[in-house]
Amino acid sequence: MADNMHYDAIVVGSGISGGWAAKELTERGLKVLMLERGRNIEHVADYVNASKESWDYPHRGTATVEMEENYPVLSRDYPLNEQTYGMWANEQENPYVEAKRFDWFRGYHVGGRSLMWGRQSYRLSDTDFSANEREGIATDWPIRYSDIAPWYDHVERFAGISGTSEGLDILPDGQFLPPIPLNIVEKDVAARLRKAFGGKRYLINARVANITESRPEQNRVACQYRNKCWLGCPYGAYFSTQAATLPAAMATGNLTMRPFSIVKEVLYDKDGKRARGVEIIDAETNETYEYTANVVFLNASSFNSTWLLMNSANDVWEGGLGSSSGELGHNVMDHHFRVGAEGRVEGYDDKYYYGRRPAGFYIPRFRNIDGEERPYTRGFGYQGSASRQGWRREVAELNIGADMKEALSKPGDWTIGMTAFGEMLPYHDNFIALDRGTTDKWGLPVLSISVDLHENERRMREDMKQDAVDILEASGVVDVKPTESDYAPGMGIHEMGTARMGRDPETSVLNGNNQVWDAPNVYVTDGACMTSASCVNPSLTYMALTARAADHAVKSLKNGDL
């Protein structure tokens, strides 16, 4: 096939943010080439596990020893399982160096992690955008909530976020579809919680990118409550590149997608101080190609976009494109989690439910706002749900036989549990760097990752645990127990930072429109750009920032600014 070698814009990566870049740029009339390092995955047709039941898997969902050997990193947590097998970056072909333990869970294929994500979608608030400045931490965000609010509106309307409007400053409302319902126990706990803390703590419906009303114009059908979203949805009911942004971009006739295309370098024109395009390696043939464009969007996921910058323009800056500030690769953040509480709820034995929800409840941040001062800064929110126990429970004194079978085939007690997601501050000494001595299957240098929790996060974790216990107890839950498992950076799968936005090229990599200071026609709009982490799941913010930046890029092209 004769390739066209020049485009108006190139988008690197086809995950959550890349899909948005492609959609917004093509809809504004640009001819776009989307480069994706992995294979293609066709919407619906390739979701081969989407309708399987537990009994259709030889190991009923469990990872085999062989799978664990192939995926030593992934096997550290739940992503390695029989259902999503094949959806994760091959760890042998794509190694990285753990200067300190870092659990990097990657998806290298068309759609990126939009196919496997948890879909929790919350807005950052003004408190988040102004926090660094207020507290003198790291550097100030160059934008405020009001700059991004219309773009949240824009992406929510198209992606389809279900939820409820609550009027909370700390968790701004959005353009919501009807919520995924709470069950009776959650509703009652919510009411008791509100009372117990004088209206200061709230349990609300999770806000998720699952549509609750069908959208024939998008070929998307409302969620059918099967709770199998990470397998690709045959109804297109949850937001993914395949279900939402890619078909919209394709429909313009302006998008060309090239899978198996590892972008290895942004080609930099020293004299024009602009990117000319990119160089790729065809992952299958190992041939290299150059594609040129007027604008380049980096959406390869936080660390990979930064890796790409580090590997570019090395003749001008040893540390790569965007390294002149000394901040490229630094200020890695994740959300630290895996602490919370659980307990039993009495008095609802005559109540049950129907259907399998893809989401439960959310408790927005309540610490360190309204003038409160805990012995740490920032805060955390909780995700959780209540349900009746199934057969996995223990039945006292019954080990074998018909009585145990009978008991286990009936629903058990109502239980409720929740896990906190805490904000991690941006620290200069949490960083990624190129390790030129270690190479991947294609001979490219790999990343070395060095990230630690600091004192602020450790103190916060105390509250994350104790507050969970207090909240459940105050809401009438009994037998409340704190839950805590080891957390290693990366496990939150919300890696952020490494090419932060800022107001000053001396202290940041990107400006307030996500342009690389040193190459204004290069936009980085994935998690790399985050100046601080907030405590809410980040991907909705990447979507909004991407749409905003795409609009800026197209206007700048038209004005002749780029």
């Binding site: 469990t62 999503t84 006739g253």
Partner: protein, 213 residues
């Protein structure tokens, strides 16, 4: 919207213009290795499982194929150490049948099998509570030592040796897991709705079976 309309909509997938578009499996089937057990083993395990989950007015473990499932699961998902523990469990049952009842497990009466496995289950329960108490004690000690030495928080307390398991525990656990995740267990003993279509969070409980997942 009815089911048919739904399906039509799903089928209407947008075409893509793609360079070098290759088809590749998205979600890959799990590798299934060599089954390390004989058919006789699977038979024997069926009998054990059926004793743990007998047919009543609903099917039991044998009908759910739990024996064969266990052989696949143990072959592919267990480490060699766990496999050895599982084999020891099978051996223990066989030996106890011979020494305590003077015949192979398969030839014992249902009551005798129940008695043998109930004894094993009681031992396993006692063993587990002892282990838990020990681990808890060791954990508390290590916390004390840690705070006393004010050790750096990133220095993990030495990983407690992999908790040993009583030989009956994996057999019992795999029986429950294999049964309730099987089609028979999930649809004829528990309740299952493939495409619920909605969520109702406030339903009067009808006294029937629990949902499968």
């Amino acid at each position: 919207m009815n089911r048919r309309e739904l399906l039509t909509m799903i089928a209407a997938v947008t075409g893509t213009s793609m360079m070098g578009a290759h088809r590749a499996f998205a979600y890959q089937p799990t590798p299934v290795g060599e089954n390390l057990f004989s058919e006789a083993d699977a038979e024997f395990l069926d009998t054990v499982a059926e004793t743990i989950i007998p047919a009543t007015d609903t099917p039991g473990a044998r009908e759910a194929g739990v024996g064969a499932f266990m052989t696949v699961y143990v072959s592919d998902c267990y480490t060699s150490r766990e496999q050895a523990n599982f084999r020891e469990g099978m051996e223990q049952i066989r030996t106890r049948a011979e020494t305590d009842y003077g015949k192979p497990f398969e030839e014992m009466s249902t009551e005798e099998r129940q008695e043998l496995l109930q004894t094993a289950a009681d031992e396993a329960r006692a063993f587990t509570s002892r282990r838990m108490a020990e681990l808890e004690e060791r954990r508390e000690q290590s916390i004390d030592q840690q705070s006393a030495a004010d050790t750096a928080a990133d220095e993990q307390p030495e990983e407690a040796a992999e908790p040993e398991m009583h030989w009956f525990t994996p057999i019992q656990q795999l029986t429950l897991f294999g049964f309730f995740t099987s089609e028979v267990g999930g649809t004829e003993v528990l309740r299952y709705e493939q495409v619920p279509g909605e969520y109702i969070g406030d339903l009067d409980y009808d006294g029937g079976p629990a949902w499968a997942t």
